[in-house]
């Protein structure tokens, strides 16, 4: 049986950037990512592509607790209570999973967290 053709990441990345919710933040985020730069996915990716990616934020001693909470609210639309809970997880447990999604979605979350100077990484859900 043939598997379906791999999704065209070129299209996905381009649409991903344009389709996300527009907020005041976007006025300061140039979205000039050139789709031509994006390579086709390698086939090895397909084996694991069903598993979501998890975005992790790691503890660091510089970012203020109020700031981290605010960023979680703004970027992910979390309530103050939920954002505070995640911030406390980062602070006390050293890290917290703040979002999950496709590879492209997770990369965009990581990028926006990096814009806010939060220490974020992504990995496959285990």
């Amino acid at each position: 049986m043939r598997s379906p053709p791999p999704p065209d990441r070129t299209t996905q990345v381009g649409l991903g950037l344009r389709a996300r919710r527009v907020t005041a933040y976007d006025r300061h985020v140039p979205t000039t990512l050139e789709p031509t730069k994006v390579e086709e996915p390698d086939l090895a990716d397909d084996v694991t592509s069903d598993r979501p990616w998890v975005v992790l934020v790691w503890n660091d001693p510089v970012n203020l607790m109020s700031y981290v909470t605010h960023v979680f609210q703004k970027l992910f639309g979390y309530s103050l209570e939920k954002a505070t809970e995640l911030m406390m997880d980062v602070h006390e447990k050293g890290r917290a999973a703040v979002a999950t999604g496709t590879r492209e979605e997770a990369e965009m979350h990581v990028f926006r967290l990096h814009e806010h100077t939060l220490w974020a990484t992504m990995e496959h859900d285990k």
Binding site: H28, F111, H116, T117
Partner: protein, 184 residues
């Protein structure tokens, strides 16, 4: 007569009518201008080895996205690093403009009679991100840890620690002002 404390960034009005005011003196503007110039130079400097930036400051400004996949990490950095630099430089430009550092005559129109300046939400966000980037650079250089430490005035880095404390104070007020329009 008591003088009412006015934070460095504060809001007036509510909801859609919310306006932000920037209230920093000339000395603070000059310090922020100097720091932003240094940050701009730092962001456009490259000290990369094979695995990315070498200096702890640049590593912190450009963290890895993938910790255990070198290939994906290289691809991510190739695509996103320039974006991150461009985004940060855009914010620095916005902040420089709001601090009146670009000599733009239009900025004069937005100054109020008390020397403050009206900001829109996007400008406040640019200020927040730039101030936090400055804190990250200084905090990394000063090796700030979880424990608060007492710094004497004769400490060789006392001035830098004061600067760090000022930026933290500024950021705290910026976040507080933005929280007023953030759904709870």
């Amino acid at each position: 007569m008591t003088r009412r404390f006015r934070p460095p960034v504060y809001t007036t009005g509510r909801g859609a009518g919310t306006r932000w005011m920037l209230n920093v003196g000339d000395d603070e503007r000059a310090v922020l201008a100097r720091l932003l110039t240094e940050l701009r130079e730092l962001l456009t400097s490259v000290d990369d080895a094979e695995g990315g930036p070498v200096s702890p400051v640049l590593q912190r400004l450009f963290p890895n996205a993938y910790v255990d996949d070198e290939e994906k990490e290289a691809e991510y950095q190739r695509l996103m690093r320039e974006e991150l630099v461009a985004s940060r430089l855009f914010q620095i430009d916005a902040v420089s403009s709001m601090l009146g550092l670009n000599g733009d005559p239009a900025d004069e129109d937005r100054a109020d009679s008390k020397g403050g300046r009206e900001l829109d939400e996007g400008e406040v966000i640019a200020l927040m991100q730039s101030v936090n980037a400055l804190r990250m650079v200084l905090g990394t250089l000063l090796d700030i840890g979880e424990e608060e430490i007492e710094i004497d005035d004769d400490h060789e880095m006392a001035a830098e620690h004061q600067l760090y404390a000022y930026l933290s104070h500024l950021l705290e007020w910026i976040v507080r002002s933005l929280q007023s329009t953030t759904p709870r």
